[in-house]
Amino acid sequence: MAFVDRDISDKGGKSLAQKLHIDLPLLAGVLVLMGFGLLILYSASGQSSLQLNRQIIRLAIAFVTMLFVAWIPPRIYKKWTPLIYAIGILLLVAVLVVGDEGKGARRWLDLGFFRFQPSEIMKLGIPMMIAWYFSERKLPPNFRELLVAGIVIAVPTYLILIEPDLGTSILIASSGAFAIFLAGIRWRILLSFVSVAIVYAPLHWLFVMQAYQKQRVLTFLNPEQDRLGSGYHIIQSQIAIGSGGMDGKGWLQGTQSQLEFLPERNTDFIFAVLGEEFGFYGVLLLISLYLWIIGRGFFIAIKAQETYTRLLAGAITLTFFVYVFVNIGMVTGILPVVGLPLPLVSYGGTSMVTLMASFGILMSIQTHKKLLPG
């Protein structure tokens, strides 16, 4: 493994990174990714310095948040977990009652001085709560405990689903599910869940799904059928990536991207710009960067000292992976179109701060360690 173990117990004096509670390998991965992302964004935005500046400001705010979160020791997070979860639930209820409506959905809560989406709290709140619940119990969990964990996940998932915000509810549900998986749910139970889901899927299609949702899936299966409608995104992004070839067309030289054939090229479909202008090598670099961050996340989880931190670190890392996988899968045409940004690369995104806060938690777990005997 390529990761360097930087356990503070190994060293005598404290370096600056240790004082700031920064995990250097994770930091390096995040910074390189940010830099590469800005390079791509500059091209994807049609060389807009305005967009670039705004993105830099957002990244800076998120970065400071990460440093702050990293500075607080994990035992504090553990202590406050039930409260954070409870506040998250309350805010989700509040948003349904008094939230700002936009584009037919209530997702925003306006506190006068700033607006935010309470669902962002739950992206961390759920894995924290599951980790907290299992940390005080024997593992692997028994059936009753699994039921409790299921309810812990289901309540906020449902509240977000009826906002409605399908993408986020899937994301937070899976973050909770990952924590359960890491806690050692038995394979037998896991497999039976999966088979139930397989049986349920056609029923869901027939009785629950809305027409537009069905259309998305159909378009995904056969994009050529709807060339100017929703299939347009998928076809154009694949042409962009495919025409990039091995070496790419060069930075700022992507015809698909620059001539505006590619829709949403600075947000959800930014990966296609990378594919077109930097080619397969660019894709390889980006995926390696993501894998480096994910790998470091798992390393931190394995090295963590107690159940709470191990579960939390692992769940956070897996959730980050889902972001990356769903977005790239969607743009390359192996998954249906779901509105999820490419983390740290796409323009905007309210989720950037939450994402960087979760990296802050990873750093906190790695850098606040007790000296254990043996």
Partner: protein
């Protein structure tokens, strides 16, 4: 690596075998978590590799296929900018239109030999070396498949030459664009305003979707105030293009843009040009309004500037010249120039005196050429005429010959509270309601105003100065005209307006005139008659009026009042502007003012003229007013 994995997989098995443990086993728990984490990481890695495999499939195996499709790509979405609404004067004369502007552009990628084609274009006389030089600078760092400007502002002849030779110049093309054009240039600049190129700061506040294809935005005056109405709504079309980016056939789908709405102004361009000409050589402003509805007939601020220069992009040199000029051509004096109204307010003050029975039609004041506050002889207030206006100055003489001591005395007895309260009704210190934005409202001084802005009490001496329209009191030319319209229209004062109708679906929707919030109550009109009579005498030789010379031989009957005033600074402007103004104030002392209306019965037009450094109101401002009124009644220029 494999052995490592194997060990953890075996651990996985053992954890699954443990059931029904009675105590919390940290070691065992750690094993579960570690093995699950490793399992997850392996799983994640496999999925990430599958993404990589998918990319490999698209980018390497199917590359040629997609390369071809990319080159033939062909359906693109084009945005179409709406045509900006036109602006007409009251008689339908175009004041702001959209003209085709042609530019010569080149797509480098489509050109076989760039130097060759540039030489060819040069030999046709379409460009000079400097254009080619600039073009080559633009070429650096720009994408080769995008159209790059070679020369802007081609004239019709150039376009003809290009179309005759176009077939030999592959990769070069002439682009036509509609651009705002103001046919009357600097003579109407301050009445209409102008559009300018959208810059980064505009981008932050405009609707970026709707302005996607738009290059200009209203930045000043009417063009800014009515931006939402003038702009229109963006349209779009999907078109099929060939490798060269040329459009093939008809658009596949099309949403036509909705053009901006046309505006009809109250401005009469004939009168506007006459006023602009009459102001030739003066710094200052002319405002002519219709007292019966608040229509602004002419709005001149001199010197003006050519708004067309800003549309196509003004050169840094010329801009520096405009900014640096002591004459401040960019400054809209009619809207934002604050001048002491001076003696022009005397008829209004006289009316307040008559109403409050402080004076009567017959009562007189002695004018030895100066006046002092009773029982306090430390300060002398002088009349403008040495030796004064005689022993028995009545209200008629006081207005016709502009006698200061009469009004020192009247103001002193009236007190600042009564003055301020009544002058508010004439519109001083308040917005004229003009639909242009950025209007300054000037200062109508009062006790409250002084306490808030100067943090001191009001002194009686200041009341005396207020009596001749000086001291803190200031107003814009628009306000001056507006105040006189109350007298001309017997008490009904309207909000000023420039736009009288907006065209919707080729139908003019008239805007109704609106009465101003505060109105003067002239009651039975007896006292109003007195001051109107006095104002009429101002223009008469037989009554030795201060504007007699200017109105000698006029074919119509007019009334008015002269004033000689000082340019002052505004209290609420920032320091830098204040400094600038002080320089001017020192440089040019006496400003001339004239306000008037005509005809004397049923007035149709009210005029206010300010000429900076013009000396006496009767000598420079009144003649300007005469020229404008002549143009109005006789059509002469």
């Amino acid at each position: 690596m494999l052995a490592f994995l194997g060990r953890h997989l075996s651990m996985l098995k053992t954890t699954n075998q443990i059931k029904g443990h009675a105590f919390k086993d940290h070691r065992q728990e750690r094993q579960i978590l570690v093995s699950r984490s490793i399992f997850a990481f392996v799983f994640v890695t496999i999925l990430m590799l599958s993404l990589l495999a998918r990319s490999w499939y698209l980018q390497v195996i199917k590359h040629e296929d997609y390369q071809t499709r990319s080159n033939n790509n062909r359906i693109s979405l084009q945005r179409v900018a709406p045509n900006r609404g036109l602006i007409f004067d009251r008689n339908g004369v175009l004041l702001a239109e959209n003209r085709s502007v042609y530019s010569l552009e080149i797509i480098p990628e489509q050109v076989k030999n760039l130097d060759d084609i540039l030489q060819q274009i040069k030999s046709l006389g379409l460009v000079e070396d400097k254009h080619i030089e600039r073009f080559k600078k633009r070429l650096l760092g720009v994408r080769r498949f995008k159209s790059i400007l070679l020369r802007s502002r081609l004239v019709e002849k150039d376009v003809a030459i290009f179309s005759a030779n176009g077939h030999r110049l592959k990769g070069a093309r002439v682009e036509a664009r509609l651009v705002r054009y103001y046919p009357y240039g600097d003579q109407i600049a301050h009445a209409v305003g102008s559009v300018r190129r959208i810059n980064d700061r505009d981008l932050q506040r405009i609707d970026q979707v709707n302005y996607r294809a738009t290059r200009h935005i209203g930045k000043v005056g009417l063009e800014k105030h009515y931006e939402d109405i003038l702009h229109g709504t963006i349209g779009s079309r999907t078109v099929e293009t060939d490798v060269q980016g040329r459009v093939i056939g008809k658009p596949l789908t099309e949403i036509p843009p909705i053009p901006g709405k046309n505006l009809k102004l109250s401005i009469d361009i004939r009168l506007q040009l006459a006023a602009s000409k009459a102001m030739d050589g003066f710094r200052g402003s002319v405002v002519a309004i219709d007292p019966r509805n608040g229509d602004v007939l002419a709005l001149v601020s001199n010197p003006g500037y050519d708004p067309n220069e800003f549309v196509t992009g003004i050169s840094t040199e010329n801009y520096a010249k405009l900014i640096g000029s002591a004459d401040q051509p960019l400054f809209n004096r009619a809207l934002r120039g604050l001048y002491s109204p001076g003696s022009t307010i005397k008829p209004m003050l006289a009316w307040v005196g008559l109403e409050n029975k402080l004076i009567t039609e017959k009562s007189t004041v002695e004018d030895p050429g100066y006046w002092v506050i009773p029982n306090k002889e430390e300060r002398i207030y002088r009349d403008w005429k040495k030796g004064g206006h005689g022993h028995k100055v009545n209200v008629y003489t006081a207005i016709t010959q502009s006698c200061n001591p009469f009004f020192y005395d009247l103001a002193y007895r009236m007190g600042i509270d009564t003055i301020a309260e009544n002058m508010f009704d004439f519109g001083f210190g308040q917005s004229t309601g003009i639909d242009m934005g950025e209007e300054l409202t000037g200062i109508m001084p009062s006790r409250d105003w002084k306490r808030i802005n100067r943090h001191t009490d009001w002194f009686p001496g200041e009341t005396v100065l207020t009596g001749i329209g000086q001291g803190y009191w200031n107003a814009t030319p628009l306000q001056l005209a507006n105040s006189v319209s109350a007298i001309a229209n017997s008490g009904e004062r309207y909000n000023l307006r420039l736009v009288t109708a907006i065209e919707e679906n080729s139908d003019w929707q008239d805007k109704q005139p609106q009465l101003a919030e505060r109105q003067v109550d002239f009651g039975d009109g007896k006292n109003l008659k007195i001051i109107r009579k006095a104002m009429q005498r101002v223009t008469r030789r037989s009554w030795n009026g201060t504007a007699q010379t200017a109105f000698d031989g006029a074919t119509y009957d007019s009334a008015g009042k002269t004033g000689t005033v000082q340019l002052t600074k505004s209290a609420d402007e920032d320091e830098e502007e204040e400094k600038e103004k002080k320089v001017i104030a020192k440089k040019f002392h006496d400003n001339a003012v004239y306000v008037g209306y005509a005809p004397v019965t049923n007035p149709e037009i009210v005029i206010a003229v300010v000429t900076e450094n013009g000396g006496h109101g009767g000598e420079s401002a009144a003649p300007v007013a005469r020229l404008v009124l002549d143009a109005y009644f006789n059509g002469t220029e």
